[in-house]
Amino acid sequence: MTTKTPRLTPQQFEELGKDLDALRQRLLDDLGEEDRKYIYDVVKVQRALEVAGRGLLMASSFPPAWIAGTAALSLSKIIDNMEIGHNVMHGQYDWMRDPAMNSKMFEWDNVAPGENWKHSHNYIHHTYTNILGKDRDIGYGVLRMDEGQRWNPYYLGNPAYAFALMVFFEWGVMLHDLEVDNLRTGRKKWSETAGVRRRMWHKGLKQVLKDYVLFPALTGPQFVATATANATANLVRNIWAFSIIFCGHFPTGVESFTEDETKDETRGEWYFRQMLGSANISGSPLFHIMTGNLSHQIEHHLFPDIPARRYPQIAGEVRAICEKYGLPYNTGGLTKQLSSVAAKIVKLALPDRFWRKPSNPGTRNVKEGRALRVA
């Protein structure tokens, strides 16, 4: 955490916790038919896009059909992964007690098995958000995304690694759960990953079979055109998901924390870290849906298990709460947030001394800094 961030008094922390708990309770009490209808409406649109996309690609050798089909399939995959998959697997709709929308049973149209992802995302990332050495989403074990990660020559490749991660994002998310960094440092044994690997294999195989064998084969001589269309749709989804997700925690101004700072956190302090460790993206209602409402990353990190359609509704209130306590509410348009992330990726590729003003060297206690790096 940098020095310019306001620290709150213990009373203020307690009050902050109460304010947000009250807001949460109000939302919980209000869940009902409308939320169910909303998610099922989204599912209908997504399935319609998917069927339309696959249908159009039956004529994939005809360029207009290829373009329209690929576009529809890309949108379908984005909605499936973001507004539906990510949110359902967070347990946002578990209260409906509908097995089709239950976090334990849902799978998304993505090679990363839900079960693995839920552990590294719902548990590790959402619990230890932006704690260096604990939140494995800081740099995903390959990038240097925080000055607290000690520089070494490997990081000269930061922009290249980021580009590769963007292009192969779904595979990156899948491999992320292997915790290669922890395997290298010996914190985790290869044998411990047996379950994770088995699930990867099963899920990956089914996804690949569907997108690169079965659907292309159904189109007969147009096999290659269909397979390319499916690959393009996966690529579009990868780029989009990567961009939105990187805007969630890495734009300038977002705080990271050390393990010492976050020992014995109270409820209020946990909320505080979630708010300061996340950034929003402003945009239209349709844009928010296409991001799975991750454009409301702050609201999402405060209440990860509340239906995402509620985030825009409470954004004003959350912002007012931030103002009440003099806390920053980090938001900006997609271009602004993205360029800030890109700048950071480039800047952190080089050693800190390269930049005239080292922001806060040495004040951190990053015992695990090395574990964040994969050489």
Binding site: G32, R47, E107, D109
Partner: protein, 365 residues
């Protein structure tokens, strides 16, 4: 042979469809076209709705092809969405297990503060699609039908024994069947006309209606030994099938116990027995290990205590039927509220909806 091949081919087709729909089930697509089109899940469409007594509603249900039928006396889990939430309750088909068109009937009594029963009573209409489970339950007649049988019911508990009666008469069974039903008044008897008709048509069926609140029935008041002797003097030689409200169940169990024929009584409970908090047991602390929470033992069930402590353990029936709530008790002693049995071993799986802690207990929730 060809039918088998045909089925095999259809199955292979289904596998291909599922590989294309992966990771979603094919039903997640089909149900968007129409909720009854699903191939994997069991569902039933309400085809007619009757209100026979003041507070009950009878639904005729056409199940989809996944439904494998039921045995008289069994029940199904029925799921409906109320204000966005799926609620599941058990209902026992009341029709003969040998219906020709595959349809069956449920009769639901609306309880004053009951969520699902009131909702169904008010909202069930033709076209409503219900989520169903396969039929389950052991409250069934032996396959070699008994020479004589006594069927006893009270209130909405009539449904499983009504199914037994209808099944036996459908089969042309010749043995004696005594059907003893308890209701407040005649107006509260579901299936009154159907019962009278069956009794009139079949010499071996004897119908006895007992009214608790008015005179005029074949018998009067609550279940007693005299009622039992009047209905079936041969009760010691054959099984009696009983289903009804907790009061009737407790009364009948006492009578059978006293007469030394408890083993002759087969029962189905619709509602959990009322829990009496035992002050002597309600001591110590309950530790919810996984959530690192501790609370003083209030003497309620572990499920209720966990919920009171702000936890959200999984549950289904809340009465010991479905095993959804099963959790590992790591240490301590618990009592099963249904039969008073104690679980004293550590690391034992218990159903937390019907277990109350006796002193200190640690449970992995």
């Amino acid at each position: 042979m060809t039918a088998q091949l045909e089925r095999k081919r259809r199955f292979r087709g289904l596998h291909l469809l599922e590989a294309l729909a992966t990771p979603h089930s094919i039903d997640r697509y089909l149900e968007l076209l129409h909720p009854m089109l699903v191939l994997r899940e069991i569902r039933g469409e309400v085809t007619s709705v009757h209100r026979t007594t003041r507070d009950s509603v009878t639904l005729t249900i056409r199940p989809n092809r996944r439904w494998r039928g039921f045995t008289a006396g069994q029940h199904v889990r029925v799921g409906v969405e109320i204000n966005g939430v799926r609620h599941t309750r058990y209902y026992s088909p009341a029709t003969s297990e040998r219906s020709r068109d595959g349809r069956f009937e449920l009769t639901v009594k609306a309880h004053d503060s009951g969520r699902v029963s009131r909702w169904l009573h008010a909202n069930a209409r033709r076209g409503l699609v219900l989520h169903l489970s396969p039929a389950e339950g052991e409250f069934t007649l032996p396959t070699t039908r008994p020479d004589r049988v006594l069927l006893v019911s009270g209130g909405s508990g009539i449904t499983p024994v009504m199914s037994m009666l209808r099944t036996l008469t459908d089969e042309g069974h010749h043995g004696e069947i005594v059907f003893l039903h308890y209701a407040y008044t005649e107006a509260d008897v579901p299936y009154l006309n159907a019962l009278r008709e069956l009794a009139a048509r079949h010499d071996n069926v004897r119908l006895l209606l007992a009214y608790t609140d008015v005179e005029g029935g074949d018998l009067h008041g609550f279940f007693t030994e005299e009622h039992l002797r009047a209905a079936a003097p041969w009760f010691a030689e054959t099984d009696t099938y009983l289903c009804g409200p907790p009061g009737l169940m407790a009364g009948a169990r006492q009578v059978f116990d006293r007469l030394g024929v408890a083993h002759r009584l087969r029962t189905e409970d619709f509602a959990p027995p009322p829990i009496t908090v035992d002050a002597e047991d309600a001591t110590g602390e309950v530790t919810f290990g996984r959530s690192a929470t501790t609370a003083p033992n209030s003497g309620r069930t572990l499920l209720e205590q966990a919920e009171a402590a702000g936890l959200k353990p999984e549950f289904g029936c809340r009465m010991g039927i479905c095993f959804t709530c099963t959790s590992v008790k790591t240490s301590g002693c618990t009592r099963d509220v249904r039969n008073g049995e104690l679980s004293t071993d550590p690391e034992e799986e218990i159903q937390i909806c019907v277990s109350v802690p006796v002193g200190d207990v640690a449970i992995d929730i």
